[in-house]
Every structure is written in structure tokens, then in C-alpha cells.
Subunit: 345 residues, 2 copies
Amino acid sequence: MTTKPPADPRRPLTLRDVSEASGVSEMTVSRVLRNRGDVSDSTRERVLEAARTLGYVPNKIAGALASQRVNLVGVVIPSLSNLVFPEVLSGISQELEETGLQPVFGVTDYNQDREEAVLYEMLSWRPTGMIVAGLEHSDAARAMLQNAGVPIVEIMDVDGEPVDSVVGISHKRAGLEMARAIVKAGYRKIGFLGTKMPHDHRARKRLEGFEAGLAEAGLTLADTEFYSGGSALLKGREMTEAILKRSPDLDFLYYSNDMIGAGGLLYCLDKGIDVPGKLGLAGFNGVDLLDGLPRRLATMDACRREIGRRAAAIIAGRSESGLVGGERIELSPTIQLGDTIRRTS
Amino acid sequence: MTTKPPADPRRPLTLRDVSEASGVSEMTVSRVLRNRGDVSDSTRERVLEAARTLGYVPNKIAGALASQRVNLVGVVIPSLSNLVFPEVLSGISQELEETGLQPVFGVTDYNQDREEAVLYEMLSWRPTGMIVAGLEHSDAARAMLQNAGVPIVEIMDVDGEPVDSVVGISHKRAGLEMARAIVKAGYRKIGFLGTKMPHDHRARKRLEGFEAGLAEAGLTLADTEFYSGGSALLKGREMTEAILKRSPDLDFLYYSNDMIGAGGLLYCLDKGIDVPGKLGLAGFNGVDLLDGLPRRLATMDACRREIGRRAAAIIAGRSESGLVGGERIELSPTIQLGDTIRRTS
DNA sequence: AGCCCCTTTGATTGCGCTATCACCACGTAT
DNA sequence: ATACGTGGTGATAGCGCAATCAAAGGGGCT
């Protein structure tokens, strides 16, 4: 059988073209290409051959409309330049790999209006499920998610009221526990260095938890320093220099993330400051960048990849088994003292 | 006017629901929601009000099928854990922001089979255009891209034959120029440290260019060291230690990326090695991480954000103006000598 | 032979939307 | 008066596919 080329070479191919080329009905072609229903081996071969030589690519738009099923999972995150989120995405991708589901990413830049727009856009493709970073959304966004009629998983954070399911860690508790560890190690004059992003709710919660932990020991933050934008490592250096110049008697610096913490550590080593004797340091995240530093920064693992995996599993699982949802998974970040907190043992 | 709730509360809303709630035809609702055609202000208000209170979200699947237009741009990259690609994505996002086009990302893990699968999946959504990292694809993948009938932009690399348009830098030339700079600075016993990924064609081309540059001065690589996986910073340390132990007389180390270069730099500073006097170092990429290091590593900017922007602009531009395509944009990375190459001046 | 059952294939319908054209009610020009 | 726009609206058809049911072609059984 000769495969005749389509009439108009620039007209996109359809099932009909494959059907004509292989001499069977469109329905049978559809069945072959989706591996669904019984088709004899001989026709299957013929159809696949025709599809291959034509270079046919199915039109999922039409397929999705007809079947009311879409293999997409919307993933909404605040940023890509954070190093944290790519790892979450990676966990999601990995878990979804074998399910036939496809993640689609959207970035909000920590901006609620952008988030609303991205959610609207994504929901308009009628995805199988949504994974959204954080629990804080505009009312309109919450309403959209609630009405979407598909599983919603909010990730990263568990301190708040989820729309549906939630997978994350308690950033409040993370801050609290780090404060306790620092106090226990004997540090008393403690400074905080972080970002100036009012919409990074997780950083805010860590700070709140941290202050609560200090309060347990009757302490308050001795000084704080904030930044925004730029190379985090460099900012860590600069902020550390600034805060130590202003408050030379600090004996501990808590950084809101590992990158600025690493910058601070490099600064202290440069200056020959005795770490952790005279000055202790800690960050947050457990990025593996830290493994390469001259000294291991104290930190707390945020379970990023695991969060992605579990969230994806909920979507994937729920899309098969018609579960009702509302799962709540709180992971426990483990504190790693590294070499920048005095060991009290 | 009271907006009656939909009959079945779990049935997804359609244009018909909004049309009934607002007392106009579906067509008029469609026009209002897309801001197309003339609609009187009073009806527009009524329709928007109804849509808002119902919480209607349009179904783009149906819309795309009917209009044969899809506002998606497929973006295919090899990895997210590389720090380089998130920046490219960021450039793409930014450029696409105002065009109504939406990027959709797919990750191949430097695997040609995965790439083929991801391309097939993406093309089946009939995107407005595709941005694909690299020029090396399987025959099937090339064929798919060629037949897609939409603008294709291959990015990062210009050393090869593009399917359609291409935006990137010459990695061969980047390697070559770095080699020349190193030779000119007087280094002679030069080692290379890189990844063991046979499918990272850009790293390979840089190495080829680099060796060609050495050859101009009658030199060859004195030693090489490869790694795969793990924390790049730590690997940089370990590899540097290994290669220097094996070949203590090396006077320069060229790293295939900045992260391992940074690890190497930290190692050398730890060991008190005279950089750049006794030993010169250079990386590749110009990641802003380097700004925070104790000494600035020599490197070469890969124009990542710019590449993303230009690629997106081609898609956006071509989707309006029915241009024919085939653009070729070669950006020029600038060498930054930093503090780890001797200044010959 | 007549029956049933199973496998394989095809015809029809509709998913939710937009393109297109038709239509109506007004003006305004001729 | 007739013709002709023009802003506003609705009716109809169809995008490319999959769900569904109908039908055709074999066996194997009584």
C-alpha cells in the first residue's frame, strides 16, 4: 500500500489522514494509537506504519475535549531562582513519570495577582490536579481552587488552612527548633538576617517561630538585617559585615536561607572570626551546596524533593482511585548542627 | 437579577450556564470574556457579573479546538538542577509576560529518548511555538519539529545545523577563547575537569574548542578528571584534590562549569595554594554565585537570560507577523578574568 | 443447521467553544 | 423615500477526537 501524501502539505494531519492511508476507520486508528480496545495485530501494524510514515502527532486538544480527560497537572511556584523549587519540581516530575501525567509549571514571583492569573490560566486547561506552593492565597484564588473539582495539593508549608490536601513542613516549628538548639548551645546575643519579601510567608513563619523559641528562654533578637535581590552569596557577605559592624557583640547569626548563610560563613572565615566559638551560624534548607564549603553550615532540611514526590503521589493516586482527599502530610525536617554551632556535649 | 446555581453543583460550568444566568446568548458571553467584537457596556457588565458570581473559568480546550489557536509555547530543557536553565526559563517567562503566550516546560535529563517523548507530548498540544535546548536531536525528533508547522527555536548553542531558528553562543569558540587567554597569561601545564555526561554536547564542544586553542600554542591537555552526580561544589573540591595529587606540576585548571570551579577555588584557598600565581583557575557560565566567593573565579558569561529573551521574542514576533523564520542569533560571551588568572599587563 | 459468544471493526454523536454569517434596529447619506 | 452602513446580537456549523453502541465475521457448542 502506497501512502499518499496529504492533499495540502501544510494542513496539519488528522486521524482521517492516517485512516485513509491505512484503509481502516478513524476509530480503529484512534484505538491503535491509544492502545485501547482489541485490534488485530495485522491492522495495528498497518496503522502504526502509516502513522509513522506520515509523521502523525495526535491532537490532544481534541482528544481531551472528547474524552473529558487531561493528563496535565498544574504546578504553581513562586520562583525558579531559588534553588529550592527546582528540586521540588524534580520530585514531582520523577513521581509523575510513570503515571502518564505531565506537570505544567507556572511562576508567580511571590505576587498574589500573578498567582491568580496563573491559576486561572491553568484551570482553564482543566488539569487533572493542581499543586500550589503555600497556603496563602487571595480569596478569588481560593475560590477558584475550591470550585475546580479536582484534587488540590498545597505544598511546602502546613501552618494554616489548606483548601484540600497539604504536604509540607511546619516552618514555625523549624524556626522554633533552631532557636532552641541555639539557646541550648549557649548563645545569647542572636541576630537574624533575611529577605525583605513580605510575601514569602514561609520565611516569615520561620522568623516568628524562631522568636517564639528565643522567648522561651527570655531572649529577643538582638539585631536584624534584611536584603532583597542580587547574588545571595554576596548579599550574605555584605549583610554579615553590616550587622557585625553595627552589633559587634552578637554571638549568633541566623540566616533565613542557606545561600546567604554560606556567604556569611565565607565572610567570617575570611576575617578569621572564630566559628563556632565566638560566633555561631545557621541557615535553612539543607542545600547540597553546603557540602562543598570549608565548614558545614548548620541548617535544617526542608524535605523539598520528598514534598514534591508526596504531592504528586496524591494527585496521581486520587486521579485513579476516586478518593475524597483532604490529606495532611507533615514532614519533619531534621536539624543538622554542622560545624557552625558549638557542641555542648 | 438572581443568579440561580447550576443544576448539578459538581457539573463543571460552561458558557451556557453564564449565558442563562445573564440572559444573553453564549456567543455574546464568549465575546465579552475574550474582549472581542462589539458588545454594549450594559450587557458586558451583566455578563461579567454573572461569570464572577458563578465562578466560571473558560474551557481553553474547547476554545483552542474551535479557534485553532493555542497560547502555549513549549520549552524543552535538559535539566532543572543546573542553575543555568532556570535562568533561561526566567528570561523566557519575562519576555512572554505581555504577549498572552504561556510557556510550558519539559525536562529531558539529557536523554534523547526522553526528549523525543517530551516533544511528542508537547506537540500534541499544538503549541504556538517550541523552544528546545541544543541542536542535537534524534532523527525522529528533528522530523517532528520540522513537520510541526510552527516556529522552532533551538537555544544555547549555535555550533550545528538548526531546524529553524537558533539563539545561543558558540561553545567551541568559548572554549577556544578561554584557552587563548590562559596561554597568553603564560600557563603551560593545563588540566581539565568536567562532567562525565556524554550527552552534554555543549560541555563537549567547549572542551573541543579548548583543546583546539591549546593546540594553536603547541600544547595538549596535561591531565583530565571527570565526575558525575552529587554536589557540584564538593565534587569540585574532590576532583581538584585528586588531579593535583596525580599531577602536582599542573599550573592551570579549566573547569567545565562554575560550580565545580568554585569548589576547586575553595579547595585551593584552604590549602594555601598561590592562586593565580602558582595555579590558575577558570570556570564557565558566569553564575552570580561567584560574586560571593573570596576571590572572583575567571569565567565566561553564557548569556543565559538573554538567550531566553531572544528566543521567546522570536516566537512571539513570528506568531503575529507571519514571518518565515530561520533566524540565527549568535551572542558573544565575554570573558571575565576575575582574580584567578594572572594579569599579564 | 442453528445458536450463542467473542473478537474486531465501523457509524454516530457530542465534548464546549469560536468563526462566520445572518439579522435587527437605528442612524445617515443620497 | 430608498439605499447603505454600523453597532449589537443570535443561530448554525464544525474544530478533531473518543464514548458508545451497532454490526459483521468467525468459531465452538448442542
